[in-house]
């Protein structure tokens, strides 16, 4: 723990500050903001999948739920502070309920995948069919397939007319991502995080040691959903509209691809994967020769076949082989990226 506060936290903050300073010189902040938001979304799945071993096919459900919660609350309240909090809390509460239902029922891998996928589909179908005027929450019409436009975007707390947008919004998102990253790093260093990794490696053994596996998985699942919800709220602010497409299967698929490409079991991997692939998609979107979906598919297949651990672990081990001192890492430690990951990120 001591080296975490003395070394890792300052190092992370310095690297992050450098990146926040340098990146806007290369890519416009409008694009960068959404890359950061996707990074946070990828990070949320990277946490529960990479460290908790929970493969959730419906991370997009929490993302969309966060965005819709923000939009609906913002229309009703008119100030952005409480809606932003709700965008975190509502998905977390929803995930806690869903997670409790699944984990206390001892559902694992495929079955978990089916249920999370199905829940996402239910939300998608339901929200898409709410076009009629009878679907109203407070003052907000749900709007069916057209989504909800025209809600209050982020403002300085208590002053609804001082909007935060453009460059300041980019810095706001960047700092939030950094805070989330540090909090999750701290969580993973705590005993809760270590037990979570233990559950990933061998659930039965951890259960026999007396830990309540179901409760811990539920909490971790809810934390992941809270982060995804926060990303959703930020996305609603960035796009200034929320549509049912946030819940779509394609969105869920993309989050999983980001994690695979970036590297599971690392903290920086899913963020890099998300931002990198989203930027690649943005660049590819400007040409029309090759279909975008086709390339995404090829990337996923190639990574599963040839680099199933992902980019960041591959680069990290390459780095260790080339430059690092030869030291014996513990077996599971080798899958984890320490401060070295931030250097490459």
């Amino acid at each position: 723990m001591a080296s975490f506060w003395a070394k890792e936290v300052p190092a992370t903050i310095i690297v992050a500050a450098l990146l926040i300073w340098i990146m806007p010189m290369m890519i416009g902040t409008y694009t960068l903001t959404v890359l950061l938001i996707y990074g946070m979304l990828g990070f949320s799945l990277g946490l529960i999948w990479g460290f908790g071993g929970i493969l959730c096919f419906g991370q997009a459900a929490f993302f969309g739920l966060g965005a819709y919660t923000y939009a609906i609350a913002a229309i009703n309240i008119g100030d952005s502070t409480i809606p932003m909090l709700l965008a975190v809390l509502v998905p977390a509460a929803f995930a806690a309920l869903l997670g409790a239902m699944m984990f206390y029922g001892r559902l694992t891998d495929v079955y978990l995948g089916v249920i999370t996928l199905v829940v996402t589909l239910i939300l998608f179908k339901f929200i898409s069919s709410t076009a009629g005027p009878e679907y109203v929450i407070g003052k907000a019409r749900l709007g069916g397939f057209n989504g909800i436009p025209g809600f209050q975007t982020l403002n300085v707390p208590g002053r609804p007319n001082d909007y935060i947008y453009g460059d300041p919004y980019f810095y706001f998102c960047a700092v939030l991502l950094l805070i989330v990253y540090l909090l999750v790093s701290w969580l993973l260093k705590s005993s809760f995080g270590r037990v979570a990794v233990g559950i990933r490696e061998n659930e039965v053994r951890v259960a026999l040691m007396g830990y309540d596996v179901s409760a811990r998985k539920t909490v971790l699942f809810a934390i992941g959903a809270a982060i995804a919800g926060l990303a959703g709220g930020l996305f609603a602010n960035w796009g200034e509209i929320v549509t049912p497409n946030l819940f779509s299967l394609g969105q869920s698929a993309e989050i999983i691809i980001w994690c695979i490409v970036g590297g599971l079991g690392t903290r920086i991997g899913p963020i890099v994967g998300a931002a990198g692939l989203a930027y690649l998609k943005f660049l590819l979107g400007q040409q029309s020769m090759i279909d975008n979906t086709l390339l995404t598919g090829i990337i996923l297949v190639l990574f599963v076949l040839f680099l199933p651990k992902g980019l960041v672990p591959a680069i990290a081990s390459l780095w260790r082989i080339s430059f690092g001192q030869r030291r014996q890492l513990p077996r599971h430690g080798a899958r984890r990226i320490r401060s070295g990951g931030a250097r490459h990120g």
């Binding site: 089916v114 339901f126 299967l249 297949v301």
Partner: protein, 288 residues
């Protein structure tokens, strides 16, 4: 009385289409323990093959029942050789790789056929029962589903090929020791599964407007039906299709088609929570 008849036909049709949609996936999952998430895209390709063949002048039924399954089966064979065979025994990895394949096929179809809706008309005309119009094609789908289930049962239970296949699925090492190559058997099974997906897509093609992303509508339903069915291939398929088709049609008639779909999904969640191993994990154990 007429209404009762119509409702019964609609219900049988819902069950039959679930059987059709899920059969290919059930074979691949039940026998090889591989979840093929590109299943929906195989169906989509079956539909496109049919439409292309019909516009080129082939008979509709030949196109649906012969050309589409063979073409899609061959595509499946290529996929198995190139991708799937490297991933046997790694359930999650196969899911991810086939998901990638599904995106690839969507992109490919978009590049070839464009992002527009295409379709053909149903080859069997409808008729009226009292005040209600019944789609004659529904009976064709019910018939095909029954024939399909019967054929699957007959092949697996009655022929030497089926025996070898079932044996290789249970104990691949033992099958190999007896001189049968599990690799070949997996290959053949995947071919059959893909061909069935192509057949299903082809048969359902006249009912829906086909777009490259059509597969997404099927995969979730098929996935749910197969997982909820559990370890027994045919019994599980029949049980879960029957249950889900029944529930979704009740809600479709009582409330709205959207609620029918939602009810199906909710039923799946509840069912899996109560019976995590699927219907046949608890009942009808040991049946095929």
């Amino acid at each position: 009385m007429d209404l009762v008849f119509v409702i019964i036909v609609e219900m049988l049709y819902a069950v039959a289409s679930l059987v059709l949609i899920s059969a290919g996936l059930a074979i691949v999952f039940g026998m090889m323990k591989i979840i093929n998430l590109a299943h929906g895209e195989f169906m989509m390709m079956g539909g496109y093959v049919t439409i292309t063949a019909v516009t080129l002048g082939a008979n509709v039924f030949v196109a649906m029942l012969i050309i589409a399954p063979v073409v899609v089966g061959l595509i499946g064979l290529v996929v198995e050789r190139l991708v799937i065979r490297h991933l046997y025994g790694r359930l999650v990895d196969t899911m991810l790789a086939t998901w990638g394949l599904s995106l690839f096929f969507i992109g490919l179809a978009t590049m070839i056929f464009g992002n527009t809706t295409t379709g053909i008309s149903t080859p069997i005309s409808g008729f009226t029962v009292g005040n209600y119009q019944v789609n004659g094609y529904n009976f064709f789908i019910i018939l095909i589903a029954i024939v399909l289930l019967g054929l699957m049962y007959a092949v697996l239970k009655g022929t030497r090929l089926g025996l070898i296949a079932r044996g290789a699925m249970q104990l691949p090492d033992m099958a190999a020791a007896l001189g049968y190559s599990p690799e070949r058997i997996y290959m053949a099974t995947f071919f059959c599964g893909s061909a069935l997906s192509g057949l299903a897509g082809a048969i359902l093609a006249p009912l829906v407007g086909l777009v490259p992303t059509s597969g997404g509508a099927y995969i979730a339903k098929a996935f749910i039906t197969v997982i909820a069915g559990g370890p027994s291939l045919i019994t599980g398929l029949m049980a879960s299709s029957g249950l889900f088709g029944f529930i979704s049609q009740i809600f479709t008639f009582a409330v709205s088609p959207v609620m029918g779909e939602v009810a199906l999904l909710v039923a799946a969640v509840v069912l899996l929570r109560l019976l995590p191993q699927g219907v046949t994990g608890k009942f009808f154990r040991g049946r095929l």
